[in-house]
Symmetry: C2
Subunit: 305 residues, 2 copies
């Protein structure tokens, strides 16, 4: 099952040439989940071949402009391009007020419904559960209400050992039960244990999106053993004071989060415009957590690789 | 005196790769006037070397997203970059409601004042007059309230013929009066007519920004003999029906406007995403008005050349 994230933007608020503020496209089993939608996200999707018509869910972490200002444009374009399928937006409660005001004054009635699901910045909540994933909000600690998002693959069915089943002439109608772990009893009463007929499914993987937040252990338990951790690292650690006053994290701290929660891999993002190149941020994080990469725009990360 | 416009974006609402929706930077005597501010305008300014800190005035034609969605991001960045100087925004009345709501929910108090001047879509008004220009709103005819903007250079002083003045030993303290057209009377009573001491100043030039509008002669008188006419031309003339139902203009119609008002030059813009290349639009317009160019992003047009 496909589970991968494409970076559409990873700069922080102040714009810098050729770096876009936050947005990511998550592909889970060929369904598209957009996480944050900064100004310019539509252009980034065009650049990197992400079809906006395929978006089913949109997650907005908080109402600082560098995380949502591209949303109204995207919603309008979907309308202009004839979308009729509904879209679900998980966001702080007031986002809909802003969107509705903009639609009102442009005298636009969207041709498709938007379902707004309010996020709660104060507690962990399951905000979505479908055939593929469970999504939880992650209460973060930022200057304004802010949540991250944890995407956890659902446990898959057991994998059938087709050759073995054919050899034993097990009728196809039993396959669904076998996938669930049930033993097979043949007509002659012989019991075949499930574990000789099937293989364990892949371990469910998970993706945590943590932006923006000050270093705060409150969400560490929730993201324990996460497969891929995207964490903001706005500054280098020599700017810790600035990180703290602006409720951001340093790259050293982001690496400490990854280490402490036992993440498999760390992805750094939300870079301050002061860093024209990003290798220093990466090097600093690697001193604490070697399996770290930079959230470079256009790059796709397969979760679990 | 510098009087030139740099195109930052010239596409219409639906996004297209590598074409940005409407924004233009007008440089008048080294003061910066931003006209419309679509999503992505900040990136375009970075790309084309236009310093956003130098903007003094912002003009927003109407509240369709492809004309103003980049504004809140720009205003926020100016704040983050430490601006303290006020900025004046000429726009439909409700723009400030949208901006204020966005500032409220991001818990941001800008460090500099914004002066909002409401535009009136129903009549011509002088909305700005400074040392260099007079700016009038142009009532356009679009699906929602919309105004264009007419920038008219003020008449300059007469140009001193320095060599002649030195030859006649005219004291420097008379120069200001000479520039205004006053004759010079020497100590011996000889009167020197102003026109042998000075030259006529350059004819004042003008720039009309007309986007978005259906073809409607209501604003033709106002922009008569304009030096450079920017006019929307969303469609080719074979899409006249679509142009009319969406309150837009075809390239043939835009050329007809230029011809009828006696413009010196026409600049076409606001191109529909359906046109991957733009030469057909240009060719169509040239059949009616040969001195036409395309508003290509990054290109600077000197008004009067």
């Amino acid at each position: 099952m496909k589970f991968e994230v494409t970076i559409l933007g990873s700069s922080s608020a102040t714009p810098i040439f050729n770096r876009n503020p936050t947005s990511q496209a998550l592909n889970i089993n060929e369904r598209l989940y957009l996480i944050d939608c900064a100004e310019g996200t539509q252009q980034q999707m065009l650049r990197f071949g992400i079809k906006s018509s395929r978006i089913e869910y949109i997650f907005i972490s908080h109402l600082h402009g560098d995380h949502y200002l591209g949303l109204i444009g995207l919603l309008s374009s979907l309308h202009l391009n004839g979308r009729s399928k509904s879209i679900t937006v998980f966001a702080p409660p007031h986002l809909k007020d802003i969107i509705n005001l903009q639609l009102k004054y442009s005298e636009t009635t969207l041709q498709y419904p938007i379902h707004y699901i309010d996020t709660n910045p104060n507690k962990v909540e399951i905000i979505l559960s479908n055939q593929d994933v469970i999504v939880e909000s992650i209460p973060l600690d930022h200057r304004i209400d802010c949540t991250g998002f944890l995407f956890k693959q659902k446990k898959r069915n057991r994998k059938l050992l087709k050759e073995k089943l054919e050899e034993l002439k097990i009728p196809v109608e039993y396959y669904t039960a076998l996938k669930k772990g049930v033993n097979y009893t043949a007509n002659d009463g012989t019991v075949y244990k499930n574990d000789i007929l099937t293989l364990d499914p892949e371990e469910p993987k998970s993706y945590a999106f943590c932006s923006d937040t000050i270093y705060n252990e409150q969400y560490f338990d929730q993201i324990k053993s996460v497969t891929l951790l995207y964490h903001e690292s706005t500054f280098m650690h020599d700017m810790l004071d600035r990180a703290q006053t602006t409720f951001h994290t340093t790259s050293l701290q982001a690496a400490t989060v990854a280490l402490k929660v036992g993440a498999q891999k760390l992805l750094l993002g939300h870079f301050s415009a002061r860093y024209k190149t990003l290798n220093e941020l990466l090097d600093e994080a690697k001193t604490v957590f070697p399996n770290t990469e930079l959230a470079i725009e256009g790059k796709t990360f397969v979760i679990g690789e």
